[in-house]
Symmetry: C2
Subunit: 445 residues, 2 copies
């Protein structure tokens, strides 16, 4: 069988286009509606997607006037989805900066247990000063400090997940011995950021470890990914950029002694699908006309660290913007936006349109064939192991993808006709870690 | 209609008797089996219980040899149960000492959203030095300090839950205005333990606030309950003790300007139910004979702060035990155990038998009629507003209660024949808090 594509469905209220909630078809309070998300996950499962995914940040972002704001905590939401599905993987974002490892490791292990081995964790460091203010801090820890904490956080989580051997539960009713205490051991972690004694208060989970996903593309972000990630989400605007990112990250992974096949790179794509090219373009245009540029300009100004009035809508970006080095927030997203605007000589209004469609991810409008072609092109050109599918409108855009694009990918022999395993690791073709193997791998760097 | 009983089902793996997992009928790995718990919740819902409840502590407790050890994180588990039930309330324990308010308030609000208003939170301060060692600390914060933090934690949680007004979501597609930003406000909390800016990143939940439950019976514990709790779980061995506790807590609640009807007091009862008295006693004896006293003696020694060898199995407790004042852990449980042993002149072996059955809760063996009588006696004698039902064996003990004891309580006109509301607050007869009213009530003390 030829190399197979992986598909993740990135779900977000009424869709990734910021004006999607204004369409007549959209349920504007979908962001707190568990039935909406259960329905989406069932659609993705019908399309045999590897996984569904929720982004997250422990802070209210932006102006509530703009678009559906606030969201259900992802581990809770994914547990509700687990109950409504049977095979699809479930990836939740959680911050290593604003959680502590004992509780979070246990929570992901719990989701893995209740879902029968379908849990994944998108490990993020949470950019921006606003989140810090919800957690007793006046400002965010520095970028490098956040990534240093993230690495130690993961070491602690691995150790906790491995603190029970797989066969620690003896359950010998006759002898009256439930567990073998020699196979449940403290971890006695003492590090720069954490002291955690362990063991975890939960037997080892079906996958051993939930799948580790990473989504930051700064230097430190790529370093963390190369060392720990099993799947990587990334925003890439051009084939050349995506190829460079792909080659770079695979090489970094190999340099750390890991098989580069064990890290799956999934760029985002925001498809707008129509039965004809005209229909797709019409939908895209309808959406773009519903954007209210004031909100977007304010957020852009915040990201670029300038005042909104420094960004006249019909001019290009000012020439004197800060370097990525000076950014303590989301470094790679900052650079992506500035590069996109400069390369395509976009006005602020045009830039806002592009970001409103996919927040920096590649947008693509067309027929199911054209979308499939766009996906296959990158997949075969060494730019992707699969895609993070970010429908502009939900549920209709996901239905169009699952029912019209997926069958084409399947015809081309690039995508499964049914699940062959039951766990998220099996969908991504990744081994179940044994405690021993991991201890070595983690210690190897 | 006469005053109505409230019933909560306290669920724990194979049952509350420590040897229950050794019975032929028991699934010894039920502690990580979501289907087991979904089945239990459906049984309780068929019996029209107000709620199901899970205890919790962020540490592995005791020797894994002894009995099923480790448990699924309760908010995750209850979310999975929410998907398998439609009416029953869902109460999860979470620690104010080892969580932070922003994440936890959001998590409970999320459970409230996905369950359609069925979430409750058993607020505990987590006793013992072992938990602290999983959270960067060498020892637990002092008892008074933990309760001080708990009170501030609750103030922050209330403020976050109320940071979105109920009608903040306008969802005006035409005008392109999703939320009314004037109705979503930061909380700007600055206190001894926390600085939290807010607002929450989630619209207000169906119940406004999840139901607040409290379960510590020390002086500070009762103070916290009187001020904040809407239901109280408590371990009481005798009618006289239960009456005194009930009168005391209702008086404390009234003294703070709260209607004492708004705090429901639920002592625990561990029923062992048989078709005949002999059958019940036979089951009780079978269970007690399966206890292995070494494990229990070690734990008792830890609680009493003596060495195991200071507790010969066939002698009474040593005379010179510490006062409750000297205990920084679970003060009220300590006193309950010592009082029980001294009052009934129990040997260590007998005490272990009593604690093995219900960990200090009232145990009661008998026919369904006798169990119903025991419940009604306390209910009518001013000792209880209802009961925390802790079956010795699960699922069989819960089935016996739901199918044989509940119908008797119903015949006596003391328990619902069906749910009349859809939320946990409605089951307990408690109002949905409006942001205004609560701000006043909380500020009143
Ligand atoms: C598809 C995708 C999803 C992401 N989701 C989140 C998220 O949910 N929360 C978050 O804090 N960062 C998320 N990020 C990462 C941020 O965009 C940003 O890169 C990161 O916060 C900062 O890392 P960096 O400085 O290494 O780029 C995501 C990135 C991608 C590509
Ligand atoms: C039914 C019941 C359930 C309880 N569940 C928990 C629990 O899950 N976690 C916990 O830390 N304490 C729990 N407690 C409270 C402890 O028994 C103990 O009272 C408390 O940790 C210390 O509070 P105190 O010193 O005020 O008594 C529970 C108490 C009762 C009566």
């Amino acid at each position: 069988m030829s190399r197979q594509l992986h598909l993740n469905a990135f779900l977000m209220s009424t869709g990734h286009h910021e004006a999607s909630w204004r369409l007549p078809e959209s349920n504007p309070v979908a962001n707190t509606d568990v039935a909406h998300y259960q329905n989406l996950a069932r659609i993705a499962e019908r399309g045999k997607f590897d996984s569904v995914f929720f982004a997250d940040s422990p802070v209210l972002i932006g102006d509530v006037g703009r678009r559906p704001a606030g969201s259900l905590e992802p581990t809770v939401l994914l547990t509700a989805i687990a109950a409504a599905t049977s095979r699809i993987g479930l990836i939740a974002t959680a911050s290593t900066t604003y959680n502590d490892p004992f509780n979070l490791a246990r929570r992901f292990a719990s989701v893995d247990h209740v879902s029968g081995g379908r849990a994944g964790w998108n490990v993020v460091t949470t950019a921006g000063p606003d989140a810090a203010k919800n957690f007793n801090l006046a400002d965010q820890p520095a970028h490098a400090e956040r990534y240093d904490r993230a690495a130690e956080f993961l070491e602690v989580a691995y150790a906790l997940w491995d603190s029970w051997e797989d066969d620690a539960t003896v359950a010998d009713k006759e002898a009256g011995v439930w567990g073998d205490s020699a196979r449940v051991q403290p971890i006695d972690h003492v590090g720069r950021h954490f002291q955690v004694r362990g063991p975890l208060n939960l037997p080892r989970s079906p996958q051993g470890h939930p799948l580790i996903v990473q989504a930051g593309s700064s230097e430190d972000g790529k370093g963390l990914a190369a060392r720990y990630a099993e799947a990587v989400f990334t925003a890439q605007q051009t084939l050349a950029d995506a190829q460079a990112f792909y080659a770079d990250l695979k090489a970094r992974t190999a340099a750390l002694g890991r098989d580069p096949e064990t890290i799956k790179i999934l760029p985002g794509i925001v498809p707008v699908i129509g039965g004809t090219v005209e229909e797709a373009l019409r939908l895209e245009q309808e959406l773009d006309e519903l954007i209210k540029p004031e909100y977007a300009r304010q957020q852009l100004a915040k990201t670029l660290r300038v005042r909104p009035e420094d960004l006249p809508l019909d001019r290009q970006l000012p020439a004197d913007l800060p370097d990525e080095d000076e950014i303590e927030g989301a470094k790679s997203r900052y650079t992506l936006i500035v590069t996109l605007a400069r390369r395509e000589k976009l006005t602020v209004r045009e830039l806002i349109g592009r970001l409103g469609g996919g927040r920096g991810h590649r947008t693509f409008s067309g027929t199911p064939e054209q979308v499939a072609d766009a996906i296959v092109e990158w997949f075969e050109a060494g730019a992707a192991d699969g895609f993070n599918v970010m429908p502009a409108v939900l549920p209709s855009g996901l239905e169009a993808f699952a029912d019209h694009v997926v069958p084409i990918l399947r015809q081309r022999g690039l995508f499964r006709t049914d699940y062959t395993g039951t766990t998220l690791r099996e969908h991504y073709g990744l081994a179940r870690p044994s405690p021993e193997r991991l201890t070595t791998a983690v210690g190897a760097n």
